[in-house]
Symmetry: C2
């Protein structure tokens, strides 16, 4: 049982933290790497790198091989032109690998699946709008994989600011023809459509991540402790982390894999074999 | 009595809000502009613009002509190479104006002073380090005017995260030879040096801005109301806005103007007349 998640966004938007929080385990590449000392800020590589790290974790009683791919250097430079190219290439390389295995005469019964099932795109919580880079990248990413923009470090925004920000983001995505997951009419029966309409309305999710737990009335609560209050990661009045986690891990994991296999991979395969 | 302040940083870091909070008045360019509807996010210009707006305000019983210069488009594009050039040019143009007035045979008794007395550089609260752009810009800005980096939207960071972030920022500024205001040994007698040593230790200030006031035990308090608490702008346990305001408006305004006149302007004048 494999699940492959990619996180894209400039450094400092809480990507590593969010991934660790999602899987209640130190699964982000930086968390397991011995290279960067925990005391130093992660260095920004000269060019965009795509790095994956895999873990076997247990989720709701199921053993899952989770691979998290991140993109250090993305969006971090003075000139970020074409910084999306290594990312698109990586995604296509996984389709290539899968295809070459699939068309093999002696192919394995279970083809190892390294295809990116979902790409979480981290939007900075400016409160204004998407940045030009966000639009350029997402309108290319959505052609090759399932893209889910998330509003990172959402505790930077009040609830009202989030509503305004979300509606502007959605307007801008629509204006540029960016299709984010779950795509309307794709792999959706009537019941799915009802559920997904509600999700599409709430998205992009405004998330907060934390690997620190605090004592609240004897209960252990994940959150960020500040001098003006405790931001509780799993409190729906504080942020939509739980909504994201439920979608990715419980309700939509299977669908994310199916859409990757039936839509994105098939598109790649069709073009590749026709060429 | 003129005071000229420039704010530099990408869109969405709370620059307009902070300037309005500092002067308890709608003095930021966007606040007084009729061009952008308040409901829309400010559009990002194609190139970096430098725009000033002036107001006569009353501060501690003194009438002050305050000019706020901001830099829409700075740091907002996919390719931000040389985005600092219009800013440096603007600063030098004000020295040029002053100089041509000063060397005039029939010069005015009071030369209108549009020289930038302080440039507040807004650092994004990533928690990691300065971005390559921050370093490239500040190491050029400090050669022409008083630069004060501030950690914007500091409510994104816990108090501990701010301490780590500050020390990394200071290390990086030192490594690149960036001199931020107040510069050691510049216009400082022994007493000033003691005060400034303490300030240098606390800086860059971690600031939060807000033009909304809330009722706290019958008192009106400026702050950001979230579902997990009220961030009070003037509460020293929450952020260092008051420290910044006191420095800029009370204790160091005169010194900022003197250093601009005696050091930065004189450097410009010397090079200009020697050329
Ligand atoms: N305010 C806020 N800070 C966060 C959040 N998640 C992580 N951080 C902090 O942001 C900094 C960068 O987080 P990190 O996960 O390393 O970001 P990455 O560079 O995108 O992987 C750290 O100081 C984190 O503690 C969040 O949801 N809200
Ligand atoms: N979290 C946080 N948000 C802020 C702060 N100051 C302003 N904002 C919000 O950030 C958004 C952008 O602020 P604005 O002043 O327009 O930023 P500018 O583009 O840099 O001028 C608005 O939604 C503000 O309400 C702050 O100190 N902390």
């Amino acid at each position: 049982f494999e699940f492959n998640i990619m996180v894209v966004g400039p450094s400092g938007l809480g990507k590593s933290t969010l991934v660790n929080t999602l899987f209640k385990a130190k699964v982000s590449r930086r968390a397991c790497s011995t290279e960067d000392s925990q005391a130093d800020a992660p260095p920004i590589p000269q060019s965009v790198q795509v790095k994956s790290v895999s873990h076997v974790i247990e989720e709701s009683g199921v053993r899952l091989k989770l691979t998290v791919t991140d993109t250090p250097g993305f969006g971090d430079h003075i000139n970020n032109e074409n910084c999306w190219i290594p990312i698109i290439e990586y995604i296509n390389e996984q389709y290539e690998k899968y295809l070459s295995e699939e068309i093999n005469i002696n192919r394995k019964k279970h083809i190892p699946d390294t295809r990116v099932h979902v790409c979480l795109y981290f939007v900075a919580p400016t409160g204004h709008n998407l940045k030009p880079l966000d639009i350029e990248v997402m309108k290319r990413l959505d052609k090759v994989c399932n893209v889910m923009p998330v509003i990172s470090k959402a505790d930077t925004l009040t609830i009202d600011e989030r509503l305004t920000f979300k509606s502007r983001i959605k307007e801008e995505l629509k204006k540029h023809g960016v299709q984010t997951y779950p795509m309307k009419g794709v792999n959706e029966d009537e019941e799915d459509a009802k559920i997904n309409d509600i999700l599409r309305d709430q998205m992009p999710f405004a998330v907060v991540g934390s690997d620190k737990s605090h004592d609240v009335d004897g209960k252990k609560v994940l959150g960020r402790l500040t001098n003006w209050g405790l931001i509780e990661v799993e409190n729906p009045n504080h942020c939509e982390f739980s909504n994201l986690r439920d979608m990715l891990i419980r309700t939509h994991m299977q669908d994310l894999k199916e859409v990757t296999d039936n839509i994105h991979y098939e598109n790649f395969r069709r073009e590749r074999l026709a060429a």
